[in-house]
């Protein structure tokens, strides 16, 4: 389906310039672009674009066609990887938010060990069940399209995105401590199941709505053979900056559990300082530095933590801390005081609350009887920016908030019970029905609103609150 993406694309642009009409990327290119830096990058003498006012750029809202995979209603994109996309879905029976990893066989074949890794991840995740390990709930296969859907627990974001949203790329110590403890809990479970993750890094640590950390992406994880004597491993495929010296050195075999300890150490270093213990212009330099095992910890990191980092980033895997040693470490069991402000999950496409992206699709499905009857809806870049900046008042394309506001202003305090409360007052009536005649800028909402109300087939005994 071509209209999968819930993005908008530009249909009209002021002046004759072809602004952008990218099939895949669409306006997202605009999203990432800060106009100021754009202009500064250019040779100012030779302007390529005329200055285009933001309310002269007009978008057509992409139709939100409801699409279902099994019992799951598809929502918008959450992330993208080499294997495919991750989208939000809604379980139509339990109404629980989920995430689905969409794997395209065609793409997988192009990645080294792609198909094997996916198969391995599925077998591993299926038997795992822990609060701090991402849960796989369902696997669906579409042979025709050569697609595979892994339905997982829903997460609002990852530590990496959160770090990147802050100026110093790090968390306050108390926040980092909370994540680190959960990471150790999850890791202990994985190791108890004889699984070595091999790719622990902030990008693979996700957070649920309640702030529970989930270790994810077991794509390169290894399950030790049941009869294996110890945790010796032979291959490592994780992210270079988080690899231990034994892998950087190219040792033939190494202790698996200690790989995860090292990567967790680099992760802890990274989320508390905003830096990496080892860097390099290219992977060879990087591995060279890791192999030397020399690093410095910034002065602001004080002792119990400093000592813990040294213990986890021991060059010699045998001397490196075990999970038990970490758990008994003074920094681990004493929670740092909550002095600094918490780093929040950054907004997704301007939505700070990370609302269900499935809702607009459901609205379309339930309220718009004849899709062709809906006029295309246009809005300007200016409006778009305003929505993105403000609290996104129109996130569902409906004006449900308005009556609510009316009530609030009329009611004052919740202790009072005014007579008219809740019943549509004449004012509410006005805003509801006169939508048609309002100015162009609100055409979109009013159009949606009216169609939606006429065409609902089944209605509950309900009223507007």
């Amino acid at each position: 389906m071509g209209s999968e993406r819930a993005e908008e694309h530009i249909v009209l642009a002021y002046s004759d310039e072809e602004v952008l009409d990218d099939e895949e990327g669409g306006s997202r290119i605009f999203d990432d672009l800060e106009p100021a830096s754009w202009i500064n990058d250019e040779d100012t003498d030779v302007p390529i674009f005329h200055r285009v006012d933001s309310d002269q750029i007009i978008y057509e809202a992409k139709k939100k066609r409801c699409k279902m995979i099994g019992k799951y209603v598809m929502g918008d994109l959450l992330g993208e990887g080499s294997y495919g996309k991750v989208k939000e879905v809604l379980d139509s029976e339990t109404l629980c938010r989920r995430a689905v990893k969409i794997l395209k066989k065609r793409k997988l074949r192009r990645i080294p060990n792609g198909e094997q890794n996916v198969q391995r991840e599925i077998t591993l995740l299926k038997k795992l069940r822990h609060r701090n390990v991402i849960g796989l709930l369902d696997v669906l296969v579409n042979d025709e399209k050569e697609k595979m859907y892994l339905v997982m627990e829903f997460c609002v974001g990852g530590l990496q995105d959160m770090l990147e949203s802050t100026p110093q790329k790090r968390f306050p110590l108390w926040q980092a401590h909370g994540y680190f403890c959960q990471l150790m809990d999850g890791l202990q479970y994985l190791h108890s199941q004889r699984i070595i993750h091999k790719d622990i890094k902030p990008g693979n640590l996700l957070l649920t709505l309640s702030g529970i950390l989930k270790i994810s992406d077991l794509g390169v994880a290894e399950a030790l053979d049941f009869f294996a004597e110890d945790d010796t491993c032979f291959t490592g495929q994780g992210s270079p900056a988080f690899q231990p010296p034994e892998i950087a050195n190219g040792h033939e075999k190494f202790l698996g559990f200690k790989v995860d300890i090292w990567s967790s150490g680099v992760t802890l270093y990274n989320i508390t300082t905003g830096l990496y213990p080892f860097e390099g212009d290219n992977i060879f330099r990087l591995f060279e530095n890791i192999a030397k095992g020399e690093y410095t910890i910034p002065d602001e990191i004080e002792n119990p933590l400093r000592d813990l980092l040294h213990g986890m980033l021991q060059k010699d895997a045998v001397k490196r801390f075990t999970l038990q040693q970490i758990r008994q470490h003074p920094w681990f069991w004493r929670k740092p005081p909550q002095t600094l402000e918490q780093v929040p999950v950054p907004p997704l496409r301007g939505d700070e609350l990370h609302n269900m992206t499935v809702l607009p699709y459901l609205m379309d499905y339930h309220y718009v009887e004849d899709p062709t009857s809906v006029q295309p809806q246009y809005y300007t870049e200016h409006e778009r920016n305003a929505w993105a900046e403000g609290q996104n008042p129109e996130r569902y394309g409906f004006e449900w908030q308005e009556p609510v506001n009316n009530i609030r202003s009329k009611e004052g305090s919740p202790k009072k019970y005014p007579d008219e409360m809740g019943y549509g007052s004449p004012d509410t009536h006005q805003t509801e029905e006169s939508g048609e005649s309002t100015s162009d800028s609100s055409k979109r909402k009013s159009k949606r609103k009216t169609t939606s109300c006429i065409s609902v087939k089944k209605f509950p005994p309900c009223k507007q609150s």
Binding site: L95, C96, H354, R408, G422, C462
Partner: protein
Amino acid sequence: MSLTQHSSSSPPSTCQNDVDCAFGSEPDSYQTMSVLGQCCGDVGQVYLAIYKPLDTPIALKKFNMDKAKDELENIQNEIILTRQLRHPNVVVINAAFVMESHVCVVSPLMAFGSCRDLLNRHFSDGLPELAIAYILKDILYALDYIHKKGYIHRAVRASHILINENGQAVLSGLRYACRVVKNGRWQRNVHSFPPTTARNLNWLSPELLEQNLQGYNEKSDMYSLGVTACELANGMAPFQDHPPTLMLTEKVRGFAPVLLDCTTCPQYADTGQQNPNTAFTQADSGVGDSVESNGNSLEGGTLATRRLTDHFHRFSELCLQRDPENRPTAGQLILHSFFKLPRRMNAPPLPQLLHPVIPLTKEVIDCQNNQDYYAVADRLSDLEINSCEWDF
């Protein structure tokens, strides 16, 4: 404090004080009589049983652990949490033990069963308004207590409201409850989506269903109470015939269920035009359609011609506001004028309002005198009991 603290008739078989009432955990001490209903899907069954040492009828809930799967944690939570609570309007667990592959939970027998039973068997057009006032006031006390203890119930619905012999309403269904306190801190909002909650979705608040970073708090229970008020008054649960996704979009858009009566049913509004505002709101929200689809209950005119008090309407509207901030707390709502109605109208106590429903205890006791348990069991199984939900 006992559940039966107000008992006036003091039947010989009920415990006056559950502290004195030591119920043993030996499976042999309980003789099951008949099935009262099901709970938790097909995982649990509720039996009428006799605790032999005291010769007391009790309700015995048996959970089949082989079937429990995802419910297992909930059942465990329920037992632990319920035993920590002590309030006359919150269900009591007298004993819990394991019998073969079942976990058994012993609770006092609730003579009138659940409100859902009452609706199913005797009041298909809803309970009398004054009865609802009695019931909801008790439930508000229960919610006020639970909220102050730092829990959100998350499953307030008619099948979780049980009524004892004295007409006291008791809140059950605590297996879906969640804690507001995390790591010793009182959270302003929680975000967890209750697991295995599919059966309760219609009662849940929009903010809980939305599952965004805003989260929800104990005001979510007040919305559920509003939905329950409509359920008790209308006889059927709101959104009953809706697919869950439509129910979700309706709630998110701010449409809430209403109490059906002549002011809210459109037939009347069409002709009478008594209250244009109301008529408009109703037409807009499409109640007309629902009335047609639920034809028979309304065509008889009982719902469309009756008139519920403004107090009741206002109460339900307060609970069902879209913005949780605007909903009053349980403690505030207890003072609502709706709950002053029974006294003002000199209403008889709840058991009389529920006439002609015969509470279960009496029957049992009568027959107990005849020393004929099995006859009771037979008679009870004739009562079409399979249809009822004793979901406590």
